[in-house]
């Protein structure tokens, strides 16, 4: 296994193998990935322009990881994500309108403007939240897996984190407990090669993150995170194992973010050639598109229609968010607890 993929050690070929995947299912993956790409391509510039307050972490390039895992999750299964999370939320079925309104800080957002882009959640579709703390979402998914196991339900939970999180202690506490208690958890590491601006090769001991995980005695696999079909196969196997009481699986997906750690970043830590290589040879959407075309499942018109559907949904989300009311400032200390606190704010 490898720490990450350099362009100098390119994976063989750019094609992906859809195997037995039905045309309808593969088309649904494409739709979802295009929705993510469109959401990120739209929200990013709005954040740079200041229409969306605060920063943002774009998931362009990570689409196949979220959609591949999300393709095996049911609505009542759980997913939790880190700071880079829009793709996971959308893959789990969260409404882009709820998300966009939250990004804008509007009353109609998923937490009424109280959370922002790092604290999206929609419990109705099993999305247990983005998380501003690296690795922390895995812990919430661990707890959901505990609840599912405790009640004897055949549900699973997927906790996403990044290569940066793989150097926190908490993640390995979570993996150990999940393995020790054989909980129905998918631990999904999105290894994009950089913790903010620090290369994984400069900061991580050992050969690979999945190699570390294997030491905890659970199945640990490394997959090409730019190949949605490969991610789907690994996740399907993991979910089937978890649903049948076989415990957790660790999936390390090798991926790459096309943009910086956050919107507006002007980092000097990677070369333009490296970014261009990933965009040209390892774009997860282009690879899926090519595979569908090769199989005769998709033509140019079909692709353009899919892209148009994504544009329409995101444009509607932006229009609704722009028109939505702001939260009432008088409510800023409401709902901190269910119990009345009666805090005195003055004499």
């Amino acid at each position: 296994m490898r720490a990450h993929t350099d362009i100098t050690e390119a994976l063989p070929g750019t094609g992906i193998d859809l195997g037995e995947t039905s045309s309808a299912e593969a088309a649904s993956w494409l739709d979802r990935m295009l929705l993510i790409r469109e959401f990120e391509s739209t929200a990013g510039p709005l954040a740079t322009a200041g229409a969306i307050p605060g920063g943002m972490h774009s998931a362009i390039g990570h689409e196949a990881v979220a959609v591949g895992v999300g393709s095996v999750l049911r609505t009542d299964d759980v997913a939790a994500a880190p700071h880079r999370s829009h793709h996971v939320a959308l893959a789990k079925g969260m409404d882009p309108g709820l998300m966009m309104a939250e990004l804008f800080g509007k009353r109609t957002g998923s937490s009424g403007g109280r959370g922002g882009h790092m604290h999206l959640a929609d419990f109705g579709v099993g999305f247990f939240g983005s998380n501003g703390i690296v690795g922390a979402g895995v812990g919430l998914a661990l707890g959901a897996a505990l609840a599912q196991s405790y009640r004897g339900e055949p549900r699973v939970a997927a906790g996403f984190f990044g290569d940066g999180g793989a150097n926190t202690g908490r993640v390995w506490e979570f993996v150990n407990l999940a393995a020790a208690w054989q909980l129905p958890l998918l631990v999904v590491c999105e290894n994009n090669g950089y913790a903010v601006e620090t290369r994984i090769r400069d900061s991580m001991a050992g050969d690979s993150i999945a190699g570390r995980a294997a030491g905890f005695g659970l199945p640990a696999v490394q997959v090409d995170g730019q190949d949605v079909a490969a991610v789907h196969r690994a996740a399907a196997q993991a979910a089937a194992l978890a649903r049948s009481g076989g415990g957790p699986t660790f999936i390390e997906a090798l991926t790459y973010r096309h943009l910086g750690h956050d919107i507006g970043e002007r980092g000097q830590y990677r070369t333009a050639e490296e970014v261009a290589w990933w965009e040209r040879y390892r774009d997860p959407i282009e690879r899926l598109r090519a595979a569908l075309v090769a199989r005769g499942d998709l033509d140019d018109a079909g692709y353009q229609q899919a892209a148009e559907r994504a544009r329409d949904r995101v444009a509607a989300a932006v229009s609704a968010a722009e028109a939505a009311p702001l939260p009432d400032p008088a409510t800023v200390t409401d709902g901190v607890t269910a119990t009345e606190l009666n805090i005195r704010t003055g004499s």
Partner: protein, 336 residues
């Protein structure tokens, strides 16, 4: 009274630790969504006998021994609470919360504000000054009170330990439940299965007319001893036990201090930067013109908890410190 009657009376006087355990057991029996997890719980019954016998009674699914992984046990508690369970994470020592501060402060506490989602999670720890040195005897109540989204309970009697844990287990907020080491074996009567103690309601342990002492936890008993001593000199002290620190029942303190016109706030935790300072400040703001003396605070000096018993005694506030402050309050401003 017959011997049998006497035994029955004695048997109702249970330890604070036992009262907590009984409250937890009663709630576990009525609500299958409650489970407790922490180190050394199933066989040992916890390091403070706080879950003695619950393992065999409820089984390994509901009384779970965890690895020494505080972040994992609290994170699992938060996630399970979000998925509909009512987990009790027992840290044994409250100090071990340091290994899970992100999970407590950045996860459990903030969920309701963002997502209006109940987080019925209890985090129990034994706290306060005792032998054993600096790393097992921290007083963290002020830390947790400074975090919006957490409730903080700190009972001083068996009845309150039982009644407060039962209330916590029927609520929907994350609760930091702190029990003082030196109260573990304190005996007293405790209520029945339906005797709940509400959060945010202080209680007057001793009515008095001259000086109000507002306190909580281990200091409640010390305040009562100080009051008895002062009564011999004709100083009538009212002792208020806050019982929960979040919510904090300032109304009861205010009503009392308005009547006595003198207030002493006593904590074992450091006098500097603590809950006592919050009570004192709130009362100074609201009662400035009505008080006959400045609000005085009793609390520990500012040092890590030392090992040597003579040093530990020097740091630990006692009944004598409360007595001294009450006398100072009586001197200030002349006769009430």
């Amino acid at each position: 009274m017959t011997a049998t009657d006497s035994n029955q009376v004695t048997s109702r006087r249970i330890t604070l630790s036992r009262a907590y355990r009984d409250g937890l057991a009663e709630e576990m029996a009525r609500d299958p969504s409650i489970l407790v997890m922490g180190t050394d719980l199933y066989e040992r019954g916890g390091h403070w006998a706080q879950v003695t016998g619950l393992g065999p009674e409820f089984g390994r699914d509901r009384v779970r021994n965890t690895p020494i992984s505080e972040a994992a046990m609290v994170a699992a508690g938060v996630g399970a609470a979000l998925d509909g369970l009512r987990p009790v994470v027992d840290l044994n020592f409250a100090d071990f919360a340091f290994g899970a501060m992100d999970e407590i402060v950045n996860q459990a506490a903030k969920v309701r504000y963002w997502w209006n989602r109940p987080v019925p999670l209890i985090i129990r720890g034994t706290t306060g000054f005792a032998g054993g040195g600096a790393q097992h005897n921290n007083s963290l109540e002020a830390w947790f009170c400074h975090v919006p989204g957490l409730l903080v309970a700190m009972p001083s009697t068996p009845a309150d330990a039982k009644g407060l844990i039962k209330t916590a287990l029927r609520g929907s907020d994350p609760v930091i439940f702190l029990m003082h080491k030196m109260l573990t074996g304190l005996r007293g009567e405790a209520g029945g299965p339906d005797d709940l103690v509400p959060f945010g309601q202080a209680t007057i342990r001793r009515p008095g007319a001259d000086v109000t002492v507002a306190t909580y936890g281990v200091m409640a008993g010390k305040a009562l001893r100080a009051a008895e001593s002062l009564a011999a000199d004709g100083i009538d002290v009212e002792v208020i036990d806050m019982r929960t620190l979040m919510p904090l029942d300032l109304d009861t303190v205010q009503q009392s201090a308005r009547r006595t016109r003198r207030l002493v706030v006593a904590t074992e935790a450091y006098r500097h930067g603590g809950v006592g300072g919050e009570i004192a400040a709130a009362m100074s703001e609201s009662l400035f013109g009505e008080l006959a003396a400045p609000v005085l605070r009793v609390g520990a000096g500012f040092a890590p908890v030392p090992h040597s018993p003579v040093l530990l005694d020097a740091l630990t506030p006692g009944a004598a410190d409360i007595e001294r402050s009450v006398r100072a309050a009586m001197r200030a401003g002349g006769a009430g």
